[in-house]
């Protein structure tokens, strides 16, 4: 195993060990996402939900706010006891730090999706069995793009006095095209029963790759203890 890969594995393992022992982030984020689903479900009412337009939108609202809180929380431990300064002093390439943080965020977000989506499916009569693989593919690809941007901005705001409200201001407008493309795909899948098209998926993959590359390049410049 090459050195970069070993460093990457060690960083991800550190973040995951922290989360496994405290279980703070996942509990907080999953409950928040379920609350959002419940509140929006109550607000929309049964007729709106039956139209097929609402479920993807509600799911995405829950993912977005859960994600913003999750990215904020995974970066928070680095702020304590000079952890970030120590990390920067260690002979680790910054892109490895970025990719490790991104992987942690992605794993946590996928765990949140695994918890929240069945709840939403039950509450909204959202028939996941119709196209489970296409749904999983769409969400995983979208989450890569979302987590790429989220990890970048949570690192930017980490050493400042900003809290999660301005982090939402940074992440939400930037991820709008991704959310738009993803919800369109989901509506086509579940409301119209159309199979996922290669072109639509290609757009999502391209978004993910662009967000990933840009965030990875910019990350070099921004980490400061």
């Amino acid at each position: 195993m090459s050195l970069a890969l070993r460093q990457f594995a060690a960083l991800v393992a550190k973040d995951l060990a922290l989360e496994l022992r405290s279980r703070q982030i996942l509990a907080l984020v999953a409950v928040l996402a379920m609350l959002i689903v419940a509140v929006l479900g109550l607000g929309l009412g049964p007729q709106q939900l039956a139209s097929g337009y609402a479920a993807p939108a509600v799911l995405w609202v829950a993912y977005l706010f859960a994600g913003i809180l999750c990215f904020e929380r995974t970066m928070a431990p680095e702020r304590h006891d000079g952890a970030l300064a120590a990390l920067l002093l260690a002979p680790v390439d910054r892109s490895v730090i970025y990719l490790a943080k991104l992987t942690t965020n992605l794993l946590l977000m996928l765990a949140v999706v695994l918890v929240v989506t069945p709840v939403a499916a039950v509450l909204f009569g959202f028939d996941l069995a119709q196209a489970p693989l296409a749904f999983a593919l769409t969400i995983v690809v979208s989450m890569v793009g979302f987590a790429a941007v989220g990890t970048l901005f949570s690192a930017v705001t980490s050493s400042s006095s900003m809290r999660s409200a301005p982090l939402a201001m940074l992440i939400l407008p930037v991820t709008l095209p991704l959310v738009l493309a993803s919800t369109h795909l989901l509506v086509a899948l579940f409301r119209d029963g159309q199979p996922i098209t290669q072109a639509a998926l290609a757009i999502l993959v391209a978004f993910g790759l662009i967000y990933l590359t840009v965030s990875w390049l910019v990350f070099e410049f921004i980490l400061e203890p």
Binding site: V156, M162, P173, L180, I203, F207, V218, F221, I222
Partner: protein, 230 residues
């Protein structure tokens, strides 16, 4: 030198005003009225150059953000802030003139067509930039966060363009106009571009003088070196 500059600035704004007045006279007297749309079509002559200039202002913001990230000079951050403010202003004008036109052409102030959604998302992206700026106290931190955001936001613009194309479109994608109408567009483009450039320059100079008035905030390095001497 110090006296000549305000005169030049005044001259610049007077010229812009005169050209804008000329453009208005031209559009209502010389330019032919469009057959199907009638007089409301004349709003296009403002709408189109402003839209182009809004994108140019976003480009200036992007270049300034990149330059800040590489050089860490406060002046690039000031330029980025000035360009973002002007981009939001121009984008608002594009949205408003577009809505007036849409009300006449389609009977609605707003439809979720790709071009309209694109303009709205563009406005949101740069309005968020301005909001983010005001939520920081530390100027170096603010400049850093805003530079990163500005870069990602600009790269987002083509993505917004592609994602909104998933929606059904009723906005005209290409315009076929008579030569006289294209001349009117050009006559409008000059004062609009001058207005955009002038506003960016004025806003930039205001930001510069504001930062230079607070030297400790503008250059934290000076503070740390002074602290080291003590």
């Amino acid at each position: 030198m110090t006296r000549a500059r305000p005169n030049l600035v005044a001259l610049y704004w007077l010229a812009t005003l005169a050209l804008a007045a000329t453009a208005l006279v031209v559009v209502f007297t010389w330019t032919p009225t469009e057959q199907t749309m009638g007089p409301v079509q004349k709003i296009f002559y403002l709408h189109f150059p402003v839209a182009i200039n809004a994108l140019l202002a976003c480009t200036v913001n992007f270049i300034a953000c990149l330059a800040y990230l590489f050089t860490r000079r406060q002046r690039w951050d000031d330029l980025a802030a000035a360009a973002a403010g002007v981009a939001v202003l121009l984008c608002s004008i594009v949205l408003l003139t577009g809505m007036i036109w849409g009300r006449e052409a389609w009977g609605h102030w707003w439809t979720w067509s790709p071009r309209l959604t694109f303009s709205l998302l563009l406005w949101l992206l740069y309005a968020a930039y301005l909001v983010i700026r005001s939520s920081f106290d530390d100027p170096t931190r603010r400049a850093m966060v805003c530079a990163v955001y500005g870069i990602v936001a600009f790269i987002d613009v083509p993505l917004v363009y592609f994602s909104v194309r998933l929606m059904p479109d009723i906005h005209p994608s290409s315009v076929s106009l008579e030569p006289a109408m294209w001349w009117t567009v050009l006559i409008f483009a000059v004062p609009v571009t001058m207005l955009a450039a002038g506003l960016i320059a004025a806003h930039y100079r205001l930001g510069r003088s504001h930062n230079l008035a607070q030297p400790d905030a503008a250059s934290p390095r000076a503070v740390t070196s002074a602290g080291a001497i003590e």
